[in-house]
């Protein structure tokens, strides 16, 4: 079925796909909750996104059958999950294959005459045949009909009137099987149109949703069944074929697909995670308590609490003077960093931007990488732990690690010399001369300016620094 491209930012127009079912396809992108009405007279054709092929013309009361991926056994061997009472044998619907109906259904509970004796091999062959026939397609819902279009064979299109439906139910997905909607039907009318099968022992069809969408579809279908709009709107006989492709729709379709999957996954994982929510609330209340009454709780407990917060990934509002926002982990990390960075810092003239440090350290580690926040928190503790490195934040917000022995102010003096030699320099030129990154070069020049040694010339051509002659020659 259609696999909607997974992110909304980029589009991949190269492969337009007909998205799985939904009346939204009938008209250009609709807000999610509105069922698009396919007015009478514009059924099938308008519903399909971009396929140029034409469906079979449907006139009158189509009694075609819909089939989906899960092929059933040929005759009378499907299971009718929850129909009460026996159901007469001739049905328009084709049974879905059914070994592993949701939940426990051990008994072979079909209606109609007993299972026809067939060899397993025969059954498998038939299943395979059916599978090939009605395997992949798009299911579309209109106000009057349920339509199925074959994705591969564009000539093949089947529809069933909604008025034929008795009721519908959901079957959850399980291991090895996809979620299904079971549609129970009335007996076929005598004037039914020819369809894939003339008759069937079963009174229901199963729609198998291999790539999700069943939650939304079930909801829409139930809505339609409740509203019964087909009773108010007469079906006109005119058929509109040949609607051109409507590429604008594809994007909405992708988003809808994602939203569906989201909803589904959320259902699944919600129960796992609802406990987490409680815990987060609890931790937040503790954090507030700590903030308010800092005397009540000991240092150790605060540290422990912070490590809980850290492992949960909750933003930590508590700061203490001794350790800042760090924890045991960050302290150890800081000591490690001091060891790792000593060499590289000396190579680079005693100063490195935090971005460089991040790349260096993570590349060296290979696994169990540091998050940017871990790095920053660890670096904040460097000075407190009396390690030979320190974190420095420039006015512009740029953060660097420098050796304790590195005195930026001294470097400024040499920068002044360099600039004076050349008359004037931009940060790029300076960086090239000295052999450091442009970012740090700029910071050094700005610092020199702040200390009064340099003047700036700010123009369209860039920022250029000159020795501050006002100071030296006044």
């Amino acid at each position: 079925m259609c696999r909607a491209k997974n992110n909304m930012i980029s589009e991949n127009p190269a492969k337009p796909r007909i998205h799985k079912a939904d009346s939204e396809e009938a008209t250009p992108p609709l807000p999610k909750n509105r069922l698009s009405t396919q007015e009478a007279g514009a059924p099938c054709a308008s519903a399909v996104a971009s396929s140029p092929a034409r469906p079979r013309p449907l006139a009158g009361v189509p009694r075609a059958r819909r089939r989906r991926r899960r092929p059933g056994r040929r005759r009378g061997e499907g299971r009718a999950p929850s129909l009460s009472g026996p159901v007469p044998a001739t049905r328009g619907a084709r049974p879905a294959r059914d070994d592993r109906t949701g939940g426990a259904q051990p008994a072979h509970n079909h209606h109609g005459p007993g299972p026809s004796p067939r060899s397993n091999a025969q059954k498998r062959r038939m299943q395979l045949k059916d599978r090939i026939k009605f395997d992949a397609g798009t299911l579309l819902l209109s106000t009057h009909r349920l339509i199925w279009r074959d994705q591969k064979n564009h000539e093949c299109c089947m529809a069933i009137l909604l008025s034929q439906i008795v009721f519908i139910e959901e079957q959850a997905a399980g291991i090895g099987k996809s979620a299904k909607i079971v549609v129970h039907l009335h007996p076929p009318p005598s004037n039914k149109e020819p369809g894939p099968f003339q008759s069937s022992k079963n009174s229901y069809i199963k729609l198998s949703f291999k790539e999700h969408g069943q939650i939304e579809f079930y909801r829409r279908l139930s809505e339609e069944m409740t509203q019964r709009r087909w009773e108010n709107m007469p079906v006109s006989q005119s058929m509109q074929t040949n609607r051109g492709p409507q590429p604008g729709r594809i994007r909405a379709v992708g988003i809808v697909g994602i939203e569906r999957k989201l909803e589904e996954k959320r259902k699944e994982t919600d129960k796992n995670i609802s406990e987490a929510k409680e815990m987060v609330e609890l931790s937040k209340s503790i954090a507030n308590k700590i903030k308010d009454k800092q005397g009540d709780i000991t240092e150790d407990e605060t540290i422990r609490f912070k490590s809980y917060l850290l492992s949960m990934g909750i933003a930590n509002p508590v700061t203490r003077e001794t350790y800042g926002s760090g924890t045991q982990y960050h302290m150890q990390l800081a000591k490690q960093l001091a060891g790792i960075l000593q060499g590289p810092l000396e190579e680079r003239g005693g100063i490195m931007s935090l971005t460089e440090v991040y790349c260096l350290v993570n590349r060296a580690r290979g696994m169990e990488l540091l998050s940017p926040e871990d790095l920053v928190n660890a670096c904040k503790m460097l000075e407190a732990l009396k390690l030979p490195l320190r974190l420095r934040v420039f006015d512009s917000g740029v953060m660097v690690i420098e050796l304790q022995s590195h005195k930026e102010e001294e470097m400024v003096a040499s920068a002044l010399e360099t600039v004076s030699e050349k008359g004037s320099l931009t940060s790029e030129e300076f960086a090239k001369l000295v052999g450091m990154s442009v970012l740090l070069a700029k910071e050094r020049l700005l610092l020199a300016e702040k200390m009064g040694h340099l003047c700036r010339d700010d123009s369209v051509e860039g920022l250029r620094f000159y020795p501050n002659l006002f100071m030296t020659q006044s």
């Binding site: 997974n6 994602i258 815990m279 709780i297 422990r304 993570n362 696994m367």
Partner: protein, 265 residues
Amino acid sequence: MVGLEEIGCFSLFPASGLGSYFCHLMIPWWGCPVTSSWSILQMSKQLDMFKTNLEEFASKHKQEIRKNPEFRVQFQDMCATIGVDPLASGKGFWSEMLGVGDFYYELGVQIIEVCLALKHRNGGLITLEELHQQVLKGRGKFAQDVSQDDLIRAIKKLKALGTGFGIIPVGGTYLIQSVPAELNMDHTVVLQLAEKNGYVTVSDIKASLKWETERARQVLEHLLKEGLAWLDLQAPGEAHYWLPALFTDLYSQEITAEEAREALP
């Protein structure tokens, strides 16, 4: 807690772990109200339970998180709903059990490298698409798939490093800023305007945004100064300000110096 402190009982149990435990035992005896110590104990119990749940979740979904970008999006949204940030620390539960952390942190490193490599050309501004392309190229064929959403999340984390990573929405996409250039709203609006053609002129700005000449010129000059825009004085009519960040294959092509020399008369 106050009662216990006064009596000095707490000082009898210096070890922090034990301290809370005994505090917990003492509460019913002294009839103290629930204190934060008690809450912490309760929380640590809940934490253990949560850990077990998370392990179960991880065993079910770990592979999916690694391989499926869509699932990653949902997972992140779920965490946002709860109020936790799974990428906050490499030492967190999420990182350790699900391996989400490593994926994003490594992506962060790759993003930094790509931005650095292309900075000389685009001044530190790059479209999300191009970044995506370059990162995928760098990762190679056999690496896990990376979606644009993954990139955005990784970049959001990189902001903590203080070197000016930012995300600017333009048109239907985003521009990623990797240098600490000051870009205020005026600048971003002009970037959005330029996205259509890859360049912008003063008259374009005046026509669509209804600004005065001076305001438009100031913005363009700032972009020029920061290296984000290139000035084209040979364009027909007035000067064009091109934004290399917005160059796409649609109307630009990378050629070598020799090819350029051959092409020009």
